[in-house]
Symmetry: C2
Subunit: 256 residues, 2 copies
């Protein structure tokens, strides 16, 4: 859905009259900061290649990840409000190419072409729905369930389907997953191990293979009473689903 | 800020040519459902009088409050995406009057008037920033800090300043605050009592008086290491700040 909406805006922007400001393409090396509290952004960005981590950092340096944006996804919309203070930062999560439009240029384009403004609104509404879904998960789910939902969400957005229902995902570190679901790396490690023992995922240093349907079934079966307290159901029996082509995860990882 | 943005969109909508679809004003009694999973919304709403609780409810009936919307605030933007499934619901939090525009009517207005679309985009961006701030708080704050931030946020949006730095807030139940910060009513009760003993708030059945500066100072002083673990600082000494006019909270409540 997000990609479809982003494609709609890209398409609108690509068909603007030539007198309107064009987008620049800018490259960032992995780990390079695109904007932060000290270097505020005045642009909307579209990821062309690579990926970008957008997060919020508080006064004590604690980081909460808002999202990882992929090719064909927009980020940086907070620049539209021209706020004096904004704790948001964006960092190249890998070597990345971005297209950028200053918000003033986009406003000029949108005033000329209402379809651009409507396409932008639809992207923003989609983002609001995604954020409220995550807020709901933070509000009612245990950490294990938050992690499971996040892994499924990342597999839908960033993954590549393989055989037997497995999805190959990029290497998301346990630190990053902890900042995404609001917990410590060590706790992520405990649940990642649990999911691996239960056969929902396999992982090595440079790859995660997720069995989406199996983890989704775990989410549905592992009902919680509320606010993270389990109903003390019996643990599901361990099961190991065959990895793509029956290969061992280390063999899969070695191809990366 | 939100009110300013909403005023901008209202102003744009009020100056549309008369051939465009007008808004309806609809009344809802306290507790009446405006839309839910079964009666999906196709409209954007503006609160004229009263207030509206927008929340998400999961399959097990657990509710996470997205926000309480006040006069001059818009809600219902998810209707723009015409989703097959949406777990969002909106309920009149008190007797309420709403203006409504169907999303198809608004799209027609926006295509005729790009300023409407831009004003709408700015409201959506403001909402995204608010949601990411709450997501950050869920991610890095303890429940006590989430509650303190939420009380300050509600006092800024819904409160009326009184004497000596106190802000009079509408009666937000501990159940509602629990659904807003993602915990049980009983835990909210513990921290509300703590904040009262520390002199940051006073409350009775029908009113909350919050000393904004004092609770903000508590937030700043009561630093956490991360993810809700305190640094075991000494508890702040109890202090009682004078209520407006030196009155007892029960006397204030009896005026409501």
């Amino acid at each position: 859905m997000a990609t479809g909406l982003a494609a709609s805006l890209q398409n609108q922007l690509a068909h603007q009259p030539s007198h309107l400001p064009c987008s620049l393409v800018v490259e960032y090396a992995k780990g390079e900061m695109i904007y932060d509290q000290h270097r505020r952004s005045t642009s909307l960005y579209l990821v062309v290649e690579g990926s970008v981590k957008v997060s919020r950092v508080d006064d004590e340096g604690r980081e909460a990840i808002i999202d990882i944006y992929q090719p064909d996804e927009f980020f940086g919309e907070s620049a539209f409000l021209n706020l004096d203070q904004c704790c948001e930062q964006a960092m190249a999560h890998e070597n990345t190419k971005l297209m950028t439009w200053t918000t003033s240029a986009l406003e000029e384009i949108a005033l000329d072409s209402p379809c651009v403004a409507m396409a932008l609104s639809q992207i923003l509404v989609r983002r609001i729905i995604d954020l409220t879904e995550r807020l709901e998960s933070f509000s009612v789910d245990s950490i294990a369930r938050r992690l499971a939902r996040s892994l499924i969400r990342f597999s839908d957005r960033l993954g590549t389907p393989e055989e037997n229902g497995w999805v190959r995902m990029p290497p998301l570190t346990q630190d990053l997953l902890g900042q995404y679901v609001g917990t410590h790396r060590e706790i992520v490690s405990v649940y990642m191990n649990q999911f691996r023992r239960q056969g929902h995922l396999q992982y090595a240093r440079r790859v995660i293979l997720l069995h989406r349907a199996s983890l989704q079934a775990w989410l549905e079966q592992n009902a919680l009473s509320s606010h993270g307290r389990t109903r003390h159901r019996a643990a599901k029996p361990m099961r190991v689903l065959p990895t793509p082509g029956g290969r061992d995860i280390r063999a899969v990882a070695s191809q990366c």
